[in-house]
């Protein structure tokens, strides 16, 4: 056989076989991967909205809003993702909020790549619990109404700013005191 033809045929067969294997494993794993992602999201929504046991997704303008409901179907609060730029890449935060009272219900850091032992401490409860009960009218200024972690001012400030920015958008969609 002509060596060029052979080169092309062998490479083509290997590529086709590889494509088939990939398509098959994608088909097998994809439903589980989707389910994992959904569960993870739901878990963090339920963490930041105390009392919620189920969640509902709604799209408002360019934001995905997750509404937390309790067993009776009462709305306990909403949550949304806030993204800030930290010291070492983006910080993704899930924020729980009650528009009726205009107060935050709690926050959870979803993903970040801050320095272990310093910036990564924004994940700790000691830092995140201060956002609970914070009002939508608060400034969210680091070192004033937001306590920063010593040695991690940039990471702490990034969290505060990210929440403030997203909260501004949310307040426009759900005015304080209104229904949600």
């Amino acid at each position: 056989m002509n060596q060029y033809a052979r080169m092309i045929i062998v490479l083509m067969i290997i590529s086709i076989a590889s494509g088939a294997v990939l398509a098959l494993s994608y088909e097998v794993t994809n439903p589980t991967i989707q389910e994992q992602a959904r569960q993870k999201l739901e878990q963090s929504v339920l963490t930041v909205i105390p009392g919620a046991t189920k969640m509902e997704e709604v799209q408002k303008e360019d934001m995905m809003i997750y509404i937390g409901l309790d067993d009776q179907g009462n709305k306990k609060g909403i949550s949304f993702k806030a993204i800030g730029s930290g010291f070492d890449g983006p910080i993704e935060i899930m924020v729980g909020y009650n528009p009726k009272e205009g107060k935050l219900l709690g926050i959870e850091i979803l993903s970040m790549s801050e320095t272990p032992g310093l910036g990564a401490r924004i994940k700790e409860e000691a830092f995140t619990k201060q956002f609970k009960e914070k009002s939508a009218e608060d400034e969210f200024t680091a070192k004033e109404d937001v306590q920063v972690i010593s040695g991690a001012t940039i990471s702490s400030t990034a969290v505060a700013n990210a929440i403030r920015t997203s909260l501004d958008k949310i307040v426009k969609i759900y005015p304080v005191g209104g229904d949600f």
């Binding site: 590889s18 990939l22 320095t115 272990p116 310093l118």
Partner: protein
């Protein structure tokens, strides 16, 4: 006997991390906790074994001029399979190793073994070599990650082992720690080798 020799070769004589010092970019990056070290090592062992077997079987079919693209396709396929299955069934592990798994494709250990060994020998020897190299890589990076986790976090496989009041040496789990720990280990292993070489000589 030959098979055993091929297997041991990767574990000690030509250990990819400590002797040949190849494939160290992922080895240095993931070794912040002992669990990650083991998982990365086993993932690499799986990819390396599967691709070595396949390349050894195809060694007479693949034309020399396109062998590298063929190897890369084979390696990339197995890597993506590992990537997908880990994402689906071990999500917490995937969160840590996620960005390093695709890097197995370009891990020189895999390509080096395909090119210099699997493409020249039969199925049995290629498998023995791949398992040896994979496990050699695994024990090496597990050792590095255990030391780094112990110094940098005071824990081992996630369990607290250091005394109360131990101040973690955070640099150990930052990039410089990887180089320092690995450098010291490579030095120690060279020392052991020199010692044993001398002993056999004098006997």
């Amino acid at each position: 006997m030959q098979l055993f020799k091929d297997f041991i070769n990767g574990i000690w004589n030509e250990n990819p991390i400590f002797k040949m010092v190849i494939g160290i970019c992922s080895a240095l990056a993931v070794t912040t906790a002992a669990n990650n070290g083991i998982a990365m090592g086993l993932a690499l062992t799986f990819v390396l074994t599967c691709s070595s077997i396949l390349i050894s079987l195809l060694r007479n079919v693949i034309p020399a001029k396109v062998r590298i693209p063929c190897y890369i396709i084979v390696v990339a396929t197995f890597t993506t399979v590992v990537d997908l299955f880990m994402k689906a069934y071990f999500p917490s592990l995937y969160e840590v190793l996620g960005i390093f798994i695709p890097l197995i494709v370009v891990n020189c250990t895999v390509l080096a073994r395909a090119e210099s060994f699997a493409s020249k020998v039969g199925l049995a020897r290629a498998t023995a070599d791949a398992l040896g190299m994979g496990l050699g890589f695994t024990w090496a990076i597990t050792l590095i990650s255990m030391i780094r986790e112990l110094l940098g976090a005071g824990t081992l496989f996630g369990y607290r082992v250091m005394w109360d009041g131990f101040t973690p040496w955070v640099s150990a789990i930052l990039p410089p720690g990887a180089f320092i720990v690995m450098g010291i280990l490579v030095g120690l292993i060279n020392m052991i080798n020199r010692k044993t070489a001398k002993d056999t000589h004098s006997h």
